[in-house]
Symmetry: none
Subunit: 210 residues, 4 copies
DNA sequence: TCATAAGCGAGACGGTACGTCTGGTCTTGCC
DNA sequence: GGCAAGACCAGACGTACCGTCTCGCTTATGA
């Protein structure tokens, strides 16, 4: 997404890059996405505006990379050795599918409620709704890798006979992930651990009488 | 949301109001939400800027009312007598829950893919993600009334013994509605009638072996 | 010169206009022409940039009008009744041509050495050297009207037989005016009352033996 | 004016110097002084910006040296042996002062009308009006040496009794040189051979009846 | 003869100002 | 008093250059 035709990127200032990420995330957190401006980011980062325009094509683009970087850094910290970006954690596989899914979904609830994560994530998600290019990048780089972890766990559950063989795992995971996502994105209702548990139970056994 | 303290509203120009709605929807459709400006709407509607600021507080606010008006008009056309805004249709109740849900969900798929609907809806949804006040209004006035139709149908199904009594209908409906919403909002995957059907089946019977 | 296509100028803010003139002249006096910026003028005048760009096409244009206004105001003050702009004073006509010319030329020397006049005048003159359009306006509106006063006095002297009839007054005046102008503009040598007197004497009687 | 403390100047690239002069003169001729930029000169000369900043302190400085170099080269071509910079030619001395002055003044008219000379000369003159340091250098290096040629010729005329002994030659020459200079600089009126002749005649014999 | 230091092309950097665009407010007639 | 029109103050936009600062590369001694 970045407009990097000019760069051999050798001479790029690492210090500026980090300062810009930090400033962008801080400003979005403080005044929101709409009132975050490139000028503001540049001023806060102690950087010329051109240094931003040289490497990124838009405010959304800067924030996206800042957010990806934030995730990458968090991952590095969490597992110094296991730093494959974008696939930081796997869904646990204890053999108890319901428990494993609930555990991860509860962690997701906690993350979605963490203000430090929430504001930039919301800003990116909103921009992605309206800006197809950025939306697809958001999905490809952030969302889908997370969802694939569920796909893996569900496949393993199919092998163990805990999920029907004719079920498509990529669709199945949406039964409990999407409701959470929609409640968060659109604020249709509060999200809690109990709610997460309920979603998993309903998704596994359906709502019709057995 | 509108800032109507000034107005006596008696003298308000109906012609201007309709022209503003039309201009706002047209511009959003043509150039997208971000590049739609109050100035542009005013110019296109042949209206002074102040006439917009007098009755609405923001670009999002204008678009929201324009969109609600669009829905209301569509409803009036569809059913001259049954014009209760926001609750135009009920989910059909033929006794076959799966068929009824699939039928409505398929209609929703069609609507989400209609470009005339898609662009302003997407714009409003995006703004709502980031702007809590507008988001809540969007949910209250547009989304939740639609969802309550499913709640009614699910309650009726519970009465008929087709849905377990201990199931919360408000959560249950999210199993098939939210995945569709998320695929549309975030473009994680395409939405089709077949997909809608699958969601209903999975939601009713779960993904675990019976 | 101003780019006034938009304006009916009825609604133009007189207060802003005067504030802009004052700010422009003050800034040019304080930091020089090159370091005077439109942004600076706007800020100092407490005015939006667009209000400047709406009525003037360039920094030079603003300064030119500010300078003309300054002259007009000075003239109004000097002679409340005799406020014909651009032709404020006539060269005196006492019958003694040499004395009359020396008197006016000495006054010009004083004006050229007045810092309040010098800095903006120099800035305009410099811009006019390089910018033909502005240069011509400068000459037409400021310089030539002044020079025509000398033409009138020289014609009167011709009638009185104090200047040869075959002499072109428009050229003749340059013999004493242009040397002063060049010394001032290009700083080739200092300008004094004595120098002014010498120029008049040389011009009247030539440098060749009589 | 150049900031040469760093340099040992032995290692200086002659090729770059010439390329910079050529690029500067070409650009000033093509787009004018204001729109000539150091970056543009560097790019056109195929030179790094630092190579310019290393040897010159400003745009005006570069152009001044380029212009001096242009004059020096012209002089070298005109007289391979007589290449004293800045004092290439003397005013001819045929004994007929009027004829000698007219001849040189006519040549000056031709030079001032030569576009190749005019644009950079105008740019330098304009800068000099506003920038005292450069203005003085311009006068010292270019203008005054030329004027001194007239001083010499007028002294010789005084010796021959063709100019009054009490006349200051440095002032006298301005009677015919400055009008020409002002007409050129400020475009107050056209300059022609006939005009030059008239100036000489008026200056020699005055405008008063003899 | 070869390291070594200067000049060099290139271009990223922190800045400033440009001229444009829009936001939201205010003012002026018209209806 | 609502309205169309549009001037006003404010300030962000994305661009162009400023003058400084590395970066490797070439080149020309001088140890």
């Amino acid at each position: 997404m970045a407009r990097k035709p000019t760069s051999d990127s050798t001479r790029r200032s690492e210090k500026s890059r980090r300062a810009i990420y930090a400033a962008a995330l801080a400003l979005v957190g403080e005044v929101g996405y709409a009132r975050t401006t490139i000028e503001g980011v540049a001023a806060r980062a102690g950087v010329g505006k051109q240094t931003i325009y040289r490497w990124w094509s838009s405010k959304a683009d800067v924030l996206m990379e800042a957010f990806l970087d934030l995730g990458a850094q968090a991952a590095e910290q969490a597992a110094g050795q296991d730093a494959r970006p974008g696939a930081e954690y796997a869904v646990p596989d204890t053999g108890d599918l319901a428990a494993d899914l609930k555990s991860v979904l509860r962690a997701t609830v906690d993350e979605l409620l963490d203000p430090q994560f929430e504001v930039p994530a919301r800003a990116l998600a909103a921009e992605g709704v309206v800006n197809e290019q950025l939306g697809r990048e958001f999905v490809t780089k952030l969302l889908e890798p997370q969802l694939q972890l569920y796909v893996q766990r569900l496949r393993s559950a199919q092998d163990a006979g805990h999920v029907r063989a004719d079920v498509d795992p990529r669709i199945a995971l949406e039964l409990f992930v999407s409701p959470l996502a929609q409640r968060w994105l659109q604020r249709t209702a509060p999200i809690t651990h109990a709610y997460a548990d309920t979603l998993v139970d309903y998704a596994l056994h359906g709502i019709a009488p057995r």
